[in-house]
Symmetry: C2
Amino acid sequence: MATRNGAQGDGDGKAVIAACERLLGAGAVLGPERIAERATSYWDPAPMQGAALVRPRSTEELGAVLRLCHDAGQTVVVQGGLTGVVAGATAAADDVIISLERMNAIESVDELDGVAVIQAGAVLQTVQEALEAQGFLFPVDLGARGSCTIGGMVATNAGGINVLRYGMIRNLVLGLEVVLADGTVLSSMNQMLKNNAGYDLKQLFIGSEGTLGIVTRAVIKLAPLPTSRQTVMFAAGSFAAVSAMLKAMRSGLGGTLSAYEVMWHNYYRPVTAPGGHPPPLARDHAFYVLAEAEGVEPDADAARFERVLERGVADGHVADAVLPKSEAEREALWRVREVFEPVLPAYLYDVSLPIKSMAKYVERVEAALAEWRPDAEALVFGHIADGNLHIFTRPHDDGRHQAASDRIVYGALEGLGGSVSAEHGIGIEKKAWLDRTRSAEEIALMRRLKALLDPAGILNPGKVID
Amino acid sequence: MATRNGAQGDGDGKAVIAACERLLGAGAVLGPERIAERATSYWDPAPMQGAALVRPRSTEELGAVLRLCHDAGQTVVVQGGLTGVVAGATAAADDVIISLERMNAIESVDELDGVAVIQAGAVLQTVQEALEAQGFLFPVDLGARGSCTIGGMVATNAGGINVLRYGMIRNLVLGLEVVLADGTVLSSMNQMLKNNAGYDLKQLFIGSEGTLGIVTRAVIKLAPLPTSRQTVMFAAGSFAAVSAMLKAMRSGLGGTLSAYEVMWHNYYRPVTAPGGHPPPLARDHAFYVLAEAEGVEPDADAARFERVLERGVADGHVADAVLPKSEAEREALWRVREVFEPVLPAYLYDVSLPIKSMAKYVERVEAALAEWRPDAEALVFGHIADGNLHIFTRPHDDGRHQAASDRIVYGALEGLGGSVSAEHGIGIEKKAWLDRTRSAEEIALMRRLKALLDPAGILNPGKVID
């Protein structure tokens, strides 16, 4: 059996794996049977496939492993927390899987400079908690926090719920260490906000989904830990009112707005139906917003937050609102937005587009679904301040409607300047749609970069671009 | 006379320029005599050199010009406001200069999304004022605002005085249009905070100083216009006190701290000597800090600002302080930091390093200067929150001490993890020092990227890397 790039046969693959075992010790390499004990991903319970799963303990070990693979033309897939939704880390039976689960330390925290050096295999929530104990906020947060790794987050340019305040993780990565396809260690572990000495090479690897190199360590810019938090869920009668409140909260809260999550009625109603979450607000409004601000002066911040909301009521933008009186009440509000199991199974989408085009876009999707079949529906929510909508479509019907649903959701972006992937990446699942967002010139340059950095095509084959 | 890449002779250069004239019209192309009416740069009054200065009116025109140059092997240097300090835009006599001075429009401002589409030739201050009139802040600000262009700022990844709050311009560029060496137009005019559809190609061109492509348009993320501002200049007895106040203001002002400029006594004393600026504070302190916060609630913000300062006094970090009572008084404080003509001529440096190493670094520089010659001195100031120091060294002696001064200032970075360029770039002047900051592996990859994107070597030849 030849590997996908045709460079070698099965026998060579076995020789490479045996060499890895000699290099790292037997306990560092798992065979296909042990691999099959793991699930393919958080979303796919099928047994994981792979020729071997290699667990280096250091950058040097990983470099040696990649040199072996590169020389033999052996394909390699690096895996993190396996919470991605585009099959961007799925291995085939003849791939060598790299797991950095043994490289999961927070190596250092510099209190004065406000930066941390973190190994790629560290799990987000573990990092968040360790840094919080030292008075720092790790500024990126997302639902998969209990599983996703720092390396995976950098490789996919993770976004999440606080992007409007702190940016994607790209904005927080000051330095990076990467192992290239041929085993070369590229160390760019800068710790400063400013370093304009030549090309900023780390940018190439952030968000390239493991196709150009393997991230081993990152220097992350931290934020001071907020000491006050205000949360509200409010209802609004129109998207114009939702937009007006976003503008009012952005400018009126002095830059402390940290989340602005919008739920269309078509999402809120099903997740608060009997058997789902208790509805915090009446179920007959057009829009629901979950907004949060984080500051440092509890009393003053709360007063300002309430003033902005009262002005929203007076201006007719806020139809009704609920402010949680305890952490338990706050968590109940967030569950409405984050725990969407009541509406599954459904197809999940992640698109971005200018805020001004969002209402029109959702109308287009709804109209196209209705035209397709009378029982079809879209459930829409998202981080609108980031231009990011998530959409569930139903019926799911065991996956048989995927192609029709894709065509409708991505097709409706036409002419609106949107993207087929806001934060989830391309992986395998969105590859066919990349040319809806990127021009022929852009895709041609992506291919040239891939050929430059991975001429043998061994890194995460078949992902992002062919 | 052959051009530097040896691809053609003088006759071909003339043919290319004649073709540009036919394409764009005679008024769009200036010859060597007209070019010589311009100064080489803000810092160098010598007449500008160049075979022709071409002023396209559109991206398409620029694409056509670059195609002609590429096919003929004609070298090209793009120029903006010519305020750079590393000779990164200096043309030789046989180069074709591209100026985008006719492409200087703000094409659109999206009030809801908070983004502006701006042509590369627009001057920063013009852009700042136009956006302010619409209620927006262009978040990057620097001393060269009256001359520098948006294209030049993107090409050099400009920093400046508000980086600790808003980041370098890289963090604000959502979309970019670039013309590649062969005339291909690469349009990545994304307008969203999130767009993870494939490799983020625009990052390649930000900060690459015109060596990989020519920036023609940018989509910039704006900030809401602040409505309150607090400024203080305070004196401190030690770098530890300066660091402690930075930490206190960062965490105590809820993210509104927008500038934290530190002046060593060796800078403050000469600029406030008789004939210089009137000293706002006594001249015998060790350090002086100019700090500013920008918020939205004048009374509450001022009260919080003063509380943080009072705590600084009580903790012994603040030895003395002056709060301006008018805009004129505020401007007088900023002049001490920004108007350094009283201490010229001197060699100007721009390095970055972790804050924790700064005091040690300055001691090293001072010791090495003293060892070199008894009358040598360093004048140090900078954006310490960004890890960025600027250093003047004297005596200047008509440039004869450049090499000795360079060796001392860059040599002292050894082992501290610093960079030879925080925000000024590499250009020609820092090229010999690039390997102090970047590893052999990094420089090798930079060269491969240059060869990939500009195989004929026509773009800004001799800058950044050879």
